[in-house]
């Protein structure tokens, strides 16, 4: 009888997923956890070393900001985890779990950024990453402003930074720069030659505050616009509005409340995403649940996630 060499693997490393089977025998993609897409340069060097030693000729940048090591032999799992340094570089997830949050660069160096999306992404990653939902995947994204480069409303819970501006008429020099800067045309010059804001048209981007030469426009409120129930893939849904000006430090708590509702309401419905659960239960069911915990931030009314017809015209 031939000697059978037993491969030993620490199965704890696989708990949160992130090791994804490839086409070839024994080969896996190892998806690394890069919350908010930010990675220090020394860490990037370390990952390059590990990729060179254990992986193929390239890495892949996933659509959700992870670095994926390609062509990793499953027998090297423990060595890869060890060399990456378990504390500083964690592996990402797959399956029915809370995924690594994505985020834009935020407000530190991006002139459009209104809120610290990087901080929010790290907090969510630390507190909620890998939480099993019991039903399906659960994605979170943070955009620093309403221009929403991360496409937050295609996530289960999507956040976009917003500010409510307020005008001090006495300081205003009637230069008209804010009116010219206002893309949604929420600002027009009034009869007194001072800008007038139409709240219904405002997307809360803060461009008026940024351009104002005299600080006549300033920030009254700052926080996240929250849209829930989005997803892409086979049957795309765009998430709808559930909360406005949610303080940045309440993001984790808010997501936890949505998760709690999802876990309970999707019970027995099989592999169903949050958006489809909302359509089934009605948006008010979730809105009321959230209002009980976040009365100051939830909107008065909302609608179900919006179905996007991507198959029309297909024979």
């Amino acid at each position: 009888m031939a000697d059978v060499k037993q491969t030993k693997i620490d199965l704890n490393n696989l708990k949160a997923g992130g090791f994804i089977k490839e086409r070839g025998k024994d080969l896996f993609t190892v998806r690394l956890r890069v919350p908010g897409g930010r990675m220090s340069v020394p860490r990037l060097k370390k990952i390059a070393e590990v990729a060179e030693k254990f992986g193929g000729e390239f890495v892949h940048l996933s659509v959700r900001q992870s670095i994926e090591l390609i062509n990793i032999n499953f027998k090297d799992f423990d060595a890869v985890v060890e060399e990456l340094g378990e504390k500083s570089q964690k592996v990402a997830s797959c399956g029915a779990r809370v995924r690594v949050p994505v985020a834009c660069g935020g407000c530190e160096y991006n002139p459009n950024g209104l809120v610290d999306t990087q901080k929010s992404a790290l907090e969510v990653d630390e507190k909620l990453f890998g939480t099993p939902t019991g039903h399906h995947k659960f994605k979170v994204a943070f955009a620093g402003c309403p221009f929403d480069c991360p496409k937050s409303s295609t996530n289960d819970v999507g956040f976009s930074g917003a500010i409510e501006p307020v005008l001090d008429k006495a300081t205003c020099i009637s230069c008209g720069l804010c009116v010219k800067s206002c893309v949604p045309k929420a600002l027009v010059m009034g009869e007194d030659n001072k800008p007038v804001l139409t709240a219904e048209k405002c997307i809360w981007c803060g461009d008026c505050v940024k351009v104002c030469p005299t600080e006549a426009w300033s920030v009254k409120k700052k926080g996240y616009t929250v849209r829930i129930g989005g997803k892409w893939g086979r049957n795309p849904l765009v998430g709808t509005l559930f909360a406005t000006f949610l303080p940045e430090d309440k993001a984790v708590e808010f997501i936890a409340a949505v998760l709690e509702w999802y876990k309970q309401k999707a019970e027995g419905l099989g592999r169903i995403r949050l958006g489809d659960t909302i359509i089934k239960e009605g948006p008010d069911a979730l809105l009321n649940h959230l209002r009980s915990q976040f009365p100051d931030y939830t909107v008065a009314k909302t609608i179900a996630p919006q179905i996007i017809q991507t198959q029309v015209g297909m024979n």
Partner: protein, 75 residues
């Protein structure tokens, strides 16, 4: 007063050209910057403000372009 004509120059070249032109001005001097409608008039004033200059006013001309008046502030 210095006039910096940035008509027909697109972003971000117009902003960088404005920065270069403003380097030649003394602190406190007033400049007129000519900007096209659209992206340029939306982006350039705000970027110049972020660079520390004092925006004084914006006027639209009959021809449709804009004149941004600003005071150069040395950091």
């Amino acid at each position: 007063m210095q006039t910096i004509d940035l008509r027909g120059v697109s972003c971000p070249t117009n902003f960088v050209k404005a920065k270069l032109a403003l380097e030649d001005l003394d602190d406190g001097m007033i400049a007129q910057i000519l900007l096209d409608d659209g992206e340029p008039v939306k982006n350039v004033p705000r970027s110049l403000k972020a660079d520390g200059h004092k925006l004084l006013g914006l006027t639209q001309t009959e021809e449709g372009y804009y004149i941004l008046e600003l005071k150069k502030i040395e950091e």
